[in-house]
Structures are given as structure tokens and as C-alpha cells.
């Protein structure tokens, strides 16, 4: 079965009422994944045996009537550790890596009764906007297989958008959940920095990384954050703030909500179709009783440049651990230990990862630190101040989640900086640690346009309320792609 005409609550009721068992649901899900994969290539690993064993155990202990995820199959991005199940981060470097423990978010989903059916494809070490940087395969956009699914969580997005699973986990360092969610017309959420534990997630840029999640509907997305959120003593950046019920107050009422639309988010580089779709969404919010006013976030245009310094610098440090000694790929025919490090890393990392390690290492090197790394960290402060100023007067900020709809699989600019610009609208919220969602706002050139909604730190609820009201009015989630091979 596919998940086009159902949602978490309906499935949960069917499971509780024994209209279907978790084993049956998992079997049908895997059969559909196998039929759909030749079209979208969303998965690196399908964990069939493990999933069926998990489902059997859930059936035996009984579906938990208080847990929406009890017995529900989900997909996990392949940079999130799953005990004894291949976890590659899309890299040759981890081609044989089976972790000895589950990430906290996987543990939480397990405890909620979710069934892990597979590991989703991604750009190598989450670096990219296309998922083409994977060592393993190229995932396709669910709406048009000649287009990219976005990245880096492209597999996670394509899996949900093509109806293979109802929900998936991704990670978001500069937009890697929200941009592919937008490209695939589904709901992708990046929580506030500190809301969700990163323990067991392969680190990219630790001051920016967050685990995010992708679903078909806003309600399901909020329900998933209920499972994932909370302090974790194993990730010292997690917040001890109270975790609210994120599904509370999803009632469609957003009267009086104050929404800001930064002029920079619809400016140069944003396609006409995307601009029109987002302006129509703004009108929709006004029709629902919110106010929408133009504001300015004057430092927005510096976000990409600052991001590539800070993100790459942190990555160059985090990726030092891949040295061929303790796990993963090890180069052969080496002369000595130093040679082993160098050959392992040179053969194990792909080009995009090497580019960022080089840029990051340079930015942190003697003589470059002040002009590059420190400069970027100062720009980050200015970007955060931009947000602080707007959030004094507004509840939410809206814009597109990408400057265009999904582009062609064969688009490979010679200048890598061209592709980096695709993150321009999502990067600032990572810098400030703010929560943000992408929800489908309509179509341009036959492809989905993501509406990006940014909220105040730890105010995920207001984002969900607005996204829910928008989704319930537009009913766009009912539009699904035509795919071959599905039953």
C-alpha cells in the first residue's frame, strides 16, 4: 500500500481496532517500497527482516492506544545511527559501517512503537542540495523523475512524497530538510536548536545541525515532534525547557497573528512562479485573519557566504574522525600510518566533502582565521540581530523554502557556488537556531513550491498553527504525484 490517502490518526485507529496488524502494514509497505524504488531510488538500505521482526514484536505486545506511532513504518536518513543496520551517511567512507547503538531519535521512535523500514539516501555527509552527492545512488523527485528531489535529505523527502512511508527523519544544517520537503510538496520541519537530541547523528556542523522530520500533513508532523523533542543528557546542547504538546491548538484559527514577509526573500534570484505562489499564500493568511506586512532582513544576502565558511570549518573538524582506523573504509597498500590516514580520506571522501574540508581547514588556518572564520561568525551575529528586530513585532516570518522549484537532474554548474545559492532562504534560521517549516504552497511549472515559515526560538507551536490553518484551507496535501509501479 501507499500512504497517499491516509494519515497517522486514521492508520492508528485501524491498528488499534485490529483492522490491520503492524506486520501486515509493514509487509504491504515494504512491497510498495520495492515497487516504487525503481522510480524514485529513495533508499540506500531496506531493512526488511529487521522491520518485520520489530512489527511482530509490536503486534505481540499489542498496539499502544496512546502512541500514534505504535506499529507505524518510518524511514530514517542514513546519517542517523541505527544499531546493527548499515549507516553510510551516503559516503564510501562508511560503506560497511553498522553502528553499535541507536541514535536518541531512533530510540525515541522505537519506544513509541515505530517500525524502521529503511535508511534514506542523502548527499554525502549531508553536504548538498540535490542528493546527487551520494556515493550510492541518485534519488528522484517524486513529481518528476527528471528533477532532483533536493537535498541533503532527498531520499527522506522522496520516500514520503512518493507514498513509500508516512514519515521520515532527516537532518537540517542549512535547509536540508525544508528544501527537499519544498521540492517534493510535503511538510518538512527543523525544530529550534536544542529541541531535539543529535546524539547518534553523524555530525556535520555542530552549531547548526538539527534533526528534522518529514510528513504528508502538518498534524502528523507536529505529532512526530511530540515523540522526538526533549532534553538528552548525551547531547549537552539539548534544552531543558518544557516540551509542549505540539498538536495542541491546531484548530485553523490564526486571527490576529502577525506575519512578516521580508522583501529580501522574494528578491533577486527568486523565480517569478515561486514569488507569485508565495504572494498568493500571503493573501491566504490575510484571508484567514492574520496580518502580513513587508519587513527587511538586511543581512540575508550574506548568509550563504558566512554559512559556507562556518559550516565547512565545523565540518573539517568533525570529519577528522574518519581516518580508517576504527571503523569504515580503510585504504590498502599504504606505507605507514600517516599514509593510511591520507589515502583513506582521499579515497573515501567524495569531491563535495573534500571541497568543504579544504575550505573549512583554510578558514581555520593561521593567517586566515580572522578574515574568514571570525568574520563569518560576526556576520552570523548580524543575521541573528535581523531576526531579533523583526520578532519584536511579529509572530512569524514567511517566504519560499527555495528560490525555484526542483531543477533538472543533469544541472551541474561548473561553479559550485551556484548550487550553494539554493540554500539562501533556509540558512539564516540555522544560524539563529530558529524553528522553521516548509509546507506545500502550490505549483509552478508543474512542480511544488515550498512555503517557508520561521518562528521564534522554542515557539514551534505558532508555526504549526499557521501551517495547519494554511494546509486545511488549501487542501494541497490531497494532491499527489503519479508514479508507476505502485499498487
Amino acid at each position: 500500500m501507499n500512504y497517499f490517502e491516509t494519515d497517522l490518526t486514521k492508520l492508528h485507529n485501524q491498528l488499534v481496532n485490529k483492522e490491520i496488524t503492524s506486520v501486515e502494514l509493514t509487509e504491504q509497505t515494504i512491497a510498495n517500497i520495492k515497487a516504487t524504488e525503481p522510480t524514485v531510488d529513495a533508499f540506500i538500505t531496506i531493512a526488511e527482516a529487521e522491520a518485520l521482526a520489530q512489527a511482530k514484536a509490536i503486534d505481540e505486545q499489542g498496539i499502544d492506544p496512546n502512541s500514534l506511532f505504535s506499529g507505524i513504518p518510518v524511514a530514517i536518513k542514513d546519517n542517523i545511527l541505527t544499531k546493527d543496520i548499515l549507516t553510510t551517511a551516503g559516503s564510501k567512507m562508511l560503506h560497511n559501517f553498522k553502528p553499535i547503538f541507536d541514535a536518541t531519535v531512533v530510540e525515541k521512535l522505537n519506544n513509541a512503537g515505530a517500525i524502521m523500514v529503511g535508511k534514506a539516501n542523502m548527499d554525502e555527509f549531508a553536504m548538498g542540495s540535490t542528493s546527487k552527492n551520494s556515493y550510492y545512488k541518485m534519488s528522484k523527485n517524486a513529481w518528476d523523475q527528471t528533477k532532483v528531489p533536493g537535498g541533503s535529505s532527498g531520499g527522506s523527502a522522496a520516500a514520503v512524497a512518493s507514498g513509500e512511508v508516512i514519515a521520515s527523519l532527516g537532518t537540517d544544517t542549512g535547509g536540508s530538510v525544508r528544501q527537499p520537503a519544498g521540492f517534493n510538496g510535503i511538510v518538512g520541519f527543523k525544530p529550534t536548536y536544542g529541541r531535539v537530541s543529535r546524539w547518534g547523528v553523524i555530525a556535520f556542523a555542530s552549531s547548526l545541525d538539527q534533526v528534522g522530520h518529514l510528513t504528508r500533513t502538518v498534524y502528523d508532523n507536529a505529532a512526530m515532534l511530540n515523540v522526538l523533542a526533549g532534553a538528552d543528557h548525551r547531547d549537552q546542547t539539548t534544552s531543558t525547557r518544557e516540551v509542549p504538546d505540539f498538536t495542541a491548538n491546531l484548530n485553523g484559527d490564526i486571527k490576529g497573528m502577525k506575519i512578516a514577509l521580508p522583501k529580501e526573500y522574494l528578491g533577486e534570484g527568486v523565480s517569478a512562479g515561486v514569488r507569485e505562489t508565495i504572494l498568493a499564500a500571503a493573501k491566504q493568511f490575510e484571508a484567514l485573519g492574520a496580518t502580513v506586512e513587508e519587513v527587511s532582513l538586511p543581512h540575508s544576502k550574506y548568509g550563504v557566504a558566512a554559512y559556507y565558511i562556518i559550516g565547512s570549518a565545523e565540518a573539517s573538524s568533525n570529519l577528522q574522525r574518519f581516518d580508517g582506523i576504527r571503523y569504515g573504509f580503510r585504504a590498502e597498500d599504504v606505507k605507514n600510518l600517516n599514509d593510511l590516514y591520507i589515502k583513506t580520506r582521499s579515497q573515501g571522501f567524495g569531491d563535495e566533502v573534500k571541497r568543504r574540508i579544504m575550505l573549512g581547514t583554510f578558514s581555520l588556518s593561521a593567517g586566515a582565521y580572522d578574515a574568514f572564520f571570525k568574520k563569518a561568525a560576526q556576520i552570523r551575529t548580524l543575521l541573528i540581530q535581523d531576526f531579533d528586530n523583526v520578532f519584536k513585532d511579529y509572530d512569524l516570518i514567511i517566504g519560499p523554502s527555495a528560490p525555484s522549484v526542483a531543477f533538472g537532474m543533469d544541472y551541474t554548474p561548473e561553479d559550485p557556488a551556484e548550487l550553494y545559492m539554493y540554500d539562501v532562504l533556509t540558512i539564516p534560521s540555522n544560524f539563529a537556531g530558529l524553528p522553521a517549516i516548509s509546507v506545500n504552497a502550490g505549483f509552478s511549472e508543474g512542480l511544488p513550491v515550498g512555503l517557508h515559515i520561521i518562528g521564534k526560538a522554542f515557539d514551534e507551536n505558532t508555526i504549526y498553527r499557521a501551517a495547519y490553518a494554511f494546509e486545511q484551507t488549501t487542501q494541497l496535501f490531497k494532491q499527489v504525484p503519479n508514479l508507476g509501479g505502485q499498487d
Binding site: T237, R345, T361, K374, Q378, I384
Partner: protein, 104 residues
């Protein structure tokens, strides 16, 4: 630093710091790509950041402490099973120095 361009020697030096090696052709390729990225980054010089503090993290937490209690972290067999090579309960690596050099 407007129009920053790295020399081939600088690129080779950075590769050494990062424990990466490039042949001549790869070195040219990465130099060109890094120059493109440097062009993108030059835009930051438009901004006067005098007296602007740097932000390195946005976490609200400071000095998170845990209880000073021992835990049983015995996972030696599982960990060794992940190593590319192991022997007698240890991870096996090549000689630290060149074998030829060591023989002298």
C-alpha cells in the same frame, strides 16, 4: 582580501593540514573550485564588522554537568568487530614509520 585567490602551494598546504592528497590535475581542479567559492565569500567584506561580537553557538546551555558515576561501557568485542583489522583484542594499524626507514 578582495578577490582572494589561493596559490597552488597554499592549496597543497591546506590539503596537507586536512590529510588529503591531490595529484596535479586534482590540485588544479580544487584550486579553481576554491577560487570560485572565495569569490562568493568576498561579499562579506562589504560589511563593517568592527566591534560586532562573533557568534559560535546559539545554545542557551552553559557547563552542563552529569553525576560523577561509573558506568559499564564494556563494548570491546562489538567495537573491535567494526575495525578494518584487529589482532589479539587490539586494532591493527600499519607501522607508524616507513618500514624501510625503521629497518635502518
Amino acid at each position: 582580501m578582495a578577490e582572494t585567490e589561493l596559490t597552488r602551494e597554499e592549496v597543497r598546504h591546506v590539503a596537507g593540514l586536512a590529510m588529503l592528497e591531490f595529484n596535479d590535475q586534482e590540485l588544479d581542479y580544487f584550486k579553481e573550485q576554491l577560487d570560485d567559492i572565495m569569490n562568493l565569500i568576498d561579499i562579506l567584506n562589504e560589511v563593517d564588522t568592527t566591534d560586532v561580537p562573533a557568534t559560535f553557538t546559539v545554545t542557551e546551555n552553559r557547563n552542563v554537568l552529569r553525576a560523577d558515576e561509573g558506568i559499564n561501557a564494556e563494548q570491546k568485542a562489538e567495537l573491535l568487530a567494526r575495525a578494518p583489522e584487529s589482532e589479539n583484542g587490539l586494532i591493527k594499524v600499519p607501522a607508524i614509520i616507513n618500514e624501510s626507514a625503521g629497518a635502518k
